[in-house]
Every structure is written in C-alpha cells, then in structure tokens.
C-alpha cells in the first residue's frame, strides 16, 4: 500500500493505492497523518475504531472524520494505520486501528476536515485506488 500527497491550490489531496480496500483506506489515513506532520516519532499507544456507512465513499469520509475527531479529543496524532473493510447487510464497515502519537511529541498542523470534493474510490487492475481532498 502507498500514498502520495498531491498539490491543490488551497488544500491538500491524498492519492492512495492498496491490494484491497482495507490497505487503501489505511494508506489514505497515513496520507492524512503526513498532511498533518512531516516527521513521526515511534511513540504512542494503539487504539481501535469501527465505523460503518451506507456506501464506500461515505465510509472513507466517515473513517477519516472519525480519525480527526479521535485526534482532537484524545490529543494524539493517528499514524501507522491498519484497516480492513467488509460489507454486511448492505452496510459497509471499516475495522481499523492507529498508533496515537501524543501531541507533545510532534510538531503538527491542523487538518480541519475531510471533503467529498473530487473523492474517488475505485477498483483497478492493480488493486484499489482512492483520492481525497483534505481541508487544511
């Protein structure tokens, strides 16, 4: 799995790929961390989140929004993300975890929110790809 930060006039975009949806979602989440902070130390405890939504794009939106929420209320930067995605009874579910680096250990800036603008989640011959614009 991998991600790239892409230029955007006002904001920051993340383009990510993975062998499956879980890897791709985790790569976008790592991109969110990279948009927040250049250097990530190896500190912090892992925590888990489970998020469900009515569709794949909505799931990616809600998953990233949840990480931003956890960041603000726990006071940690979620890094080294892991995720798996499945569909159950018409709902999409992501079960994920992240290592929460305490704010005191990093120099980070605020990514305000995830946006739907230009969002793509698509399957290709090489696996899954996602593109998300973040409001910074």
């Amino acid at each position: 799995m991998s991600y790239e930060l892409r230029p955007h006039t006002a904001d920051v975009a993340v383009a990510a790929t993975g062998a499956d949806l879980g890897e791709t979602f985790a790569a976008v989440a790592d991109g969110l961390a990279a948009a927040t902070c250049d250097d990530v130390p190896a500190t912090g405890e892992r925590f888990s989140v489970t998020v469900d939504a009515e569709g794949l794009e909505a799931l990616l939106f809600d998953y990233l929004d949840r990480l931003i929420y956890e960041r603000d209320v726990r006071g940690v930067l979620p890094v080294a993300n892991e995720a798996s995605v499945h569909e159950a009874d018409g709902e999409w579910v992501v079960e994920a975890s992240a290592r929460g680096v305490p704010f005191a250990d990093v120099t980070a800036r605020d990514v305000k929110a995830v946006t739907y603008s230009e969002m793509r989640v698509e399957e290709t011959d090489e696996g899954w790809k996602a593109y998300v614009v973040l409001d910074v």
């Binding site: 930060l5 892409r6 230029p7 955007h8 006039t9 006002a10 904001d11 920051v12 927040t36 250049d38 009515e54 909505a58 939106f61 809600d62 929004d65 931003i68 929420y69 960041r71 603000d72 209320v73 006071g75 930067l77 704010f103 005191a104 990093v106 120099t107 980070a108 800036r109 605020d110 305000k112 929110a113 995830v114 946006t115 739907y116 603008s117 230009e118 969002m119 614009v133 409001d135 910074v136």
Partner: protein, 486 residues
C-alpha cells in the same frame, strides 16, 4: 465583445472588472467573476471557474453566482464565492459555507505608534507566541467544560462579557453585537462540542495567524477618523475561526443532508455543495447550528484579543485601557446569513452564502453598527506576511453588484506542496526580518514556507478592483510588524 476562455469555460466582459459566464445547460443563473485581467488569468489557472459554474446549480440561487477578485479553487464552492439563495424556495448549503464556520478576522486598535514598538519586536513576538495558544493540541485560553461550550454557543460575546473576558465596547463594535439571535446549541452535536471544549481561545494552524501591524497609509481621512485610524498607529489583526467545533458541525450536516436529501444532492454537480431545501427540518437545524458556531468563533477571537491585551500590558508595562486597545471590527469569511436584498426591484429574504468573502454593507444600512453607520461597515482584508493588509469600508455598489460582499484576503496562488518546494521556512523568516523588519514566529518552518509571501496573490490588485467597483472602498493600509502562526 471581449471574451476570455479557460478550459472550455467562456467569459464575456460586461464592463471593466466584470466578467460573465452566461447561463447554459443546467445552470440556474449566470455567474460573474469580478477581476482585473491579471487576476482573471490566475483565477483561470485552477478549477475556480468550474466550481463557480457548479455553484449556479444550487436550488433557488438568485441573481448571479459570484467570484470575488481573490477567488481560487476550494472544495465544492470556490473560495471567494458568493451565492444568494431564496429562504423560502431555495436551500442552505453547508458545503457553500465551508468547514471553518465564521472563520474571520478582527482588528484591534491601540494608541501606540510604530516608534513605541520598535526595539520590543522580539520580546513581543515571543510573548505573543508563548501566550496565545496555537497549532495542533495547543489548548485554549479557557479550558471549558460542556456547560461553558453551551453558554458560548448560545450567548456569544455576551458570555465573554459576563465572565470578564470582554468589555461592553467590544460588543458594540462587533457584527450583531457579538451574539447571533438564531443560535441553537441543541443542533450542534456532542461530537462537535467535545472537540470545541479544549480549543476555546486558540488560533489553530494553516493560514491562521495573529499579527501586530502599523498603519502605513490613509486613503480616506473622514472614514479613517470614524474608525479611529491614523498613520503610524499600531493595530493587531487576529485571523481564526470556530476550530474543530465548526469543522465537525459542517461535516455532521453534510452527512445528514446526504442521507436525507440524496435526491437533491444527485442533481448537484459536486457532492460537496450539499444543500438542505429551504424550510426543511435540516435547513432549520443547520441554520441554528451555524449561528451557534458563529458565536463560538466570535468568542474564540475575543478570548485571543483579551490575551493579547494582557501580553501588551506586560511588554509595555501599562494597562490595556491606557493603550486604548479597543476592537475596530470583526468580519466573518465563511458564513450564510438571512439577509434582505432587492432583486429586480423586489425585496427578498435570502441566505447569502459567503465562502472566503466578506460582508461589505454600505453607509446607512441598518445592520451596520451605529458607530459606523454614517460611513459604512469596516472590512478587513489581510495580505500575506510580506505585504500590507487593508481596511476598507462597505461600498455604495456592493448591494447591487455582490449582495453586499467583497474579497476576504489576497487569495492563494500556489499549493502548499509547491510552496514547500520553492521556499525554505527559515530563509523566509530571516529575509522577512532582515529586509522587511517583520518578526515571524511559527510552530514549524514548514508553516512559514507554506504561507510565504510568494504563495499569495497581489493584495494591492485585489483591493484596487474592489475599490474601483465600489464594493469595498480603500480606507487605510497596514504593514506587519510581528506575526505568529500555528
């Protein structure tokens, strides 16, 4: 007829500085860009025009979808965008307000001159940086609990006055007296309130900043007198918004609208324009929540201003009252407010969405505070760290041309990624100090690079267009002395 074309979008020149994208296809109204040729060239470089055309699809949009001279690509609705929709038959669009509800700027005056501050810049910038919370996880001036957040959402700057963080004069010089009557704290989620309680009185990061400035020029003596501005005077500019609480509120309502009004959303060209039909339960709830977030942002800026007064007291060893540190005005950049406008001779109540745009009401308008009603509402246009900022006043033509609006800043020209490739933060900081006598302190060098003067448009050109069109008239110019960033 002069026309310009960018990526298949053709604009016709209506008159100097006014470019129209005629109605075609599913557009409900035409769109207009207010720009000089030079600014239009920059606006045409990214997806601003496409996003402006998308905005014309909003239900009930009236007149024109507008792009101010500092417009640039955002998400969904362009930054620098103004769109007015009918409050009965249209919609209200959280995506067209933006995540940072009531992101805005306030200017505080002092009776200090530049000479009083010279020699103290280093001490001042360090003291401000140490005392005004900024960056991620920097905490707030007030460590609030849920009751505090509720009170702030409901009562705005009235709460700050009751708690000793404001004086009466701050309220009379703020839009709406610092309190939105339509605020509904119960429409703001617990999730949003959780995020807000640790951030009450904090700058945040990105393009948000606090700047000590000096007045370098006055263009209209009578208005400058009414605003209490004169050459060489030191002023303080505070730029931030409603922090995580506002961001979460926008996010919550985008998702609620998607779930409940998916049919409306399916007809919009960009999901980020998500809009609730006027009169629907969600439209009412969002309006109440947004007004509560407006209150939160005003209190946020008020608390920072209060802290700045305390810092000045320590650095200059005088009371803030003796330095006449009074609020000039506070303007919102991301907002949708119910306002009455005359459209084709008929008075209509509209939700005026301003995303990265400033309200610019002219002299005589009843919503301009009494202190400024004879001269027009103050407008504060921040420039970059290396360029001047401007104080304008609402222009006579703003009600006819822009639903009482003008630009909100210099407008970005370059992505943050590109900025970091072209600029090195420490170099930018050192050059600003040595060549421009501007003292900058930030959480990181990357932030300084991303906000380097070169990443912004020419603020002089933005203000020239605003002044020439009569939507916001030049009153005074300021230049940075100290700047802190998150």
């Amino acid at each position: 007829m002069t026309t310009r074309e960018f990526d298949g979008i053709r604009l016709e020149r209506v008159r100097e500085f006014v470019w129209e994208l005629p109605r075609e296809g599913d557009m409900r109204v035409p769109a207009r860009v207010l720009a000089s040729e030079a600014l239009l060239d920059e606006i045409g470089e990214d997806k601003t025009l496409q996003q402006l055309r998308n905005a014309t699809h909003l239900p009930g949009i009236t007149g024109h979808a507008l792009c101010m001279p500092d417009g640039h690509q955002g998400y969904g609705f362009p930054v620098g965008g103004v769109g007015a929709t009918d409050v009965e038959t249209g919609c209200i669009s959280p995506g067209s307000v933006g995540y940072d509800i009531n992101c805005g700027v306030r200017m505080m005056k002092t009776n200090l001159t530049y000479a009083d501050v010279q020699g103290h810049e280093e001490e001042l910038v360090n003291a401000l940086f140490a005392n005004v919370p900024s960056g991620l996880g920097g905490g707030g001036v007030v460590e609030g609990d849920m009751d505090t957040v509720e009170a702030v959402l409901s009562r705005g700057v009235d709460w700050a006055l009751e708690e000793g963080w404001a004086v009466e004069d701050d309220l009379t010089h703020c839009e709406d007296g610092g309190r939105r009557p339509d605020a509904d704290p119960s429409a703001v989620s617990r999730k949003a309130k959780d995020r807000g309680k640790n951030q009450l009185g904090s700058l945040g990061s990105g393009n948000h900043f606090l700047e000590v400035q000096r007045v370098t020029e006055v263009y209209r003596d009578d208005v400058a007198d009414a605003y209490g501005l004169q050459p060489d005077q030191v002023v303080v500019l505070i730029h931030c918004g409603s922090r995580g609480l506002g961001h979460q509120t926008c996010t919550d309502y985008l998702r609620k609208i998607e779930k409940r009004h998916g049919d409306l959303l399916a007809d919009l060209p960009d999901k980020e324009l998500a809009a609730a039909p006027a009169g629907s339960e969600l439209a009412e709830q969002y309006y109440g929540a947004m007004c509560a977030c407006i209150n939160f942002a005003w209190v946020n800026r008020q608390l920072i201003m209060h802290r700045v007064r305390q810092v000045f007291e320590r650095v200059f060893d005088r009371s803030w009252e003796s330095m006449d540190m009074h609020l000039l005005y506070d303007v919102a950049h991301n907002i949708a407010k119910k306002e009455t406008h005359t459209v084709e001779g008929e008075e209509r109540e509209l939700y005026v969405h301003r995303k990265g745009a400033t309200r610019a009401f002219p002299a005589g308008h009843p919503e301009v505070p009494p202190a400024y009603r004879d001269v027009g509402q103050p407008i504060i246009i921040p420039g970059s760290m290396g360029a001047g900022s401007y104080v304008l006043r609402g222009g006579e033509a703003s009600m006819d041309l822009t639903f009482g609006s003008t630009a909100h800043g210099a407008g970005r020209l370059m992505s943050r990624t590109q900025a970091k490739q072209e600029f090195w933060g420490e170099t930018v900081r050192d050059e600003l100090r040595e060549q421009n006598a501007v003292y900058v302190k930030a959480q990181s060098g990357a932030t300084v690079a991303e906000e380097a003067p070169g990443v912004y448009k020419d603020v002089d050109e933005v203000v020239r267009v605003s002044d020439a069109l009569g939507i916001g008239d030049k009153v005074a110019r300021t230049y940075p002395v100290c700047n802190i960033k998150g």
